[in-house]
Symmetry: none
Subunit: 226 residues, 2 copies
C-alpha cells in the first residue's frame, strides 16, 4: 500500500516514514503541500497523511485540491495540539481522521489500519480497470479496448481520461484538473486541455452513449446514458 506523507519537520517525517516502511507500507515523504500535490498526481496513493501546518501549501488547502480530483482516497491530518476551529475545516473537506501531536506510532498505525480497511471494502485497488460504456479502460497500462483493437494512450490522454472516469457523473473542475495535470492553470494550458478533450471524445465516439459534456465555465462531465 502506497502512503503519501507530507510533513515539513524532517525529523518527524523521517521517523514516521521509517516506522511505516518497517510495517510494510511504501511511503513517499514530501516537505510541503505543493510537492505533495505534484507527487499525488504522478502516482497512485492509497492513503494520505498531511501535517496541517506546512510552508508553501498547508494541509487543508492540499486536501481541498486533492478532493477535487479524488473523492475517495483517505486523508488523515496531523495537527499541532488542540487547535480549535482548524480541525473542523479539515473534516468539511472530507478528512477521515486526525491526530493531535504528540501521538504514538502505534496510535497512528491503528488509525491507518482502521481507515484503510473501511475504505478498501469493495475495492481491489492496484490493478485498476474500468468499463466505460462498451469500452474497457486500463489506466495502469494506458490501454483502451476499442472495437478495432487495443489503443495505447499517451501520457496526457491517459491522465485526463483517468480523471474523467474516476469522476464519472460529476463535474471535473477545469482549474483543479489543469493544476493536477499541467501544474498550472493559465490560458494556454487551458487550450491544451481542450485539445485533449477533443482527442478523447474522438476516441470514445465508438459508443454513442458516452458523452463528455461541458459545463460552461466550470469543467467537464463524463456521462453514460442508461
Amino acid at each position: 500500500m502506497n502512503i503519501l506523507l507530507a510533513e515539513d519537520d524532517l525529523n518527524l517525517g523521517e521517523l514516521l516514514s521509517n516506522f511505516l516502511k518497517s510495517k510494510g507500507y511504501q511511503v513517499d515523504l514530501t516537505r510541503n503541500g505543493k510537492l505533495a500535490f505534484e507527487r499525488f498526481n504522478q502516482k497512485k496513493f492509497d492513503f494520505c497523511i498531511f501535517d496541517v501546518m506546512m510552508p508553501e501549501m498547508d494541509g487543508f488547502t492540499l486536501a481541498k485540491e486533492i478532493r477535487e480530483l479524488d473523492k475517495k482516497v483517505p486523508i488523515l491530518f496531523l495537527t499541532a495540539k488542540a487547535m480549535k476551529e482548524d480541525k473542523l475545516e479539515g473534516f468539511a473537506l472530507g478528512a477521515d481522521d486526525y491526530l493531535t501531536k504528540p501521538f504514538s506510532m502505534e496510535e497512528l498505525l491503528a488509525r491507518i489500519t482502521a481507515i484503510s480497511r473501511r475504505a478498501d471494502i469493495g475495492e481491489a485497488s492496484e490493478e485498476e480497470k474500468y468499463q466505460v460504456g462498451t469500452i474497457a479502460y486500463e489506466p495502469t497500462y494506458r490501454i483502451l479496448h476499442l472495437a478495432e483493437g487495443k489503443k495505447k494512450l499517451t501520457t496526457k490522454e491517459n491522465q485526463l481520461l483517468h480523471l474523467l472516469v474516476k469522476n464519472k457523473n460529476e463535474i471535473l473542475d477545469r482549474q483543479a484538473t489543469l493544476r493536477a495535470i499541467w501544474g498550472d492553470d493559465n490560458y494556454f494550458n487551458g487550450r491544451s486541455m481542450d485539445v485533449y478533450i477533443a482527442k478523447i471524445r474522438k476516441l470514445l465516439r465508438e459508443d454513442p452513449n458516452i458523452e463528455i459534456m461541458n459545463v460552461h465555465g466550470k469543467g467537464f462531465k463524463l456521462v453514460i446514458k442508461e
Copy 2:
C-alpha cells in the same frame, strides 16, 4: 427554496427567519428538534439549519434522524462558540457546514448560497425524468424531447428549467434562483435570468398548455393547464 430552521432562542430564530425570507427563501421556524423532525416529514425541504443545543431534541440527534430518511439534504449547524469534540460529531453525521455564534447574516447567506449551489448543479446524477405537458425532459442529459426531435439544452438553460420543473406550480423565487445558479443576485445576473426565461418560454411554446408566469417582484411559476 424551502428552508427548515430549528432554533430555540426565539429572538434569534425570528431574526434569522425574517432575514432569510427577505432574501427570497421560504422558512419554517421550529422551536426544538422534535417539532423540526415532525415538520420535516410533512413537507419537502431543500435546506436545514439546526441549532446544536435545543430542548427536547438537540441538533445532532435531529440530524441523525433526518439522515436516516434523507441522505442528501444539506444540513448546516449553528453552534455556540468553540465547542471541541462536539463539533466533530456533527460532521460525522454528514453535515455540510457549521457556523459558530456569533455570526453575521451575510456569512450565513454566503454559506447557504455556496452549499445549495454545490448540491444543485454539482451532482444531479440520478436518472431524473419529467413530463412537462406533452414534452419529456431529462435534466441529467440536458435533453428536451420536442415534436421536431431532441433538443440539447445549454448549461444555464438546463439549470433554470430544472429548478422550474422541480418547483412546478410553486413560485420559484427570483433572488434565491439567482444565487443558486449565478451565485449572486445582482442587477445584471437578474437580466441574464430574464433572457433565459425568454429562451425557455420559446422552447416550451410547442405545448400551449405550458406557461411560465411571472409573479411581479417575486419570481416565476411554471404551470400546466388542466
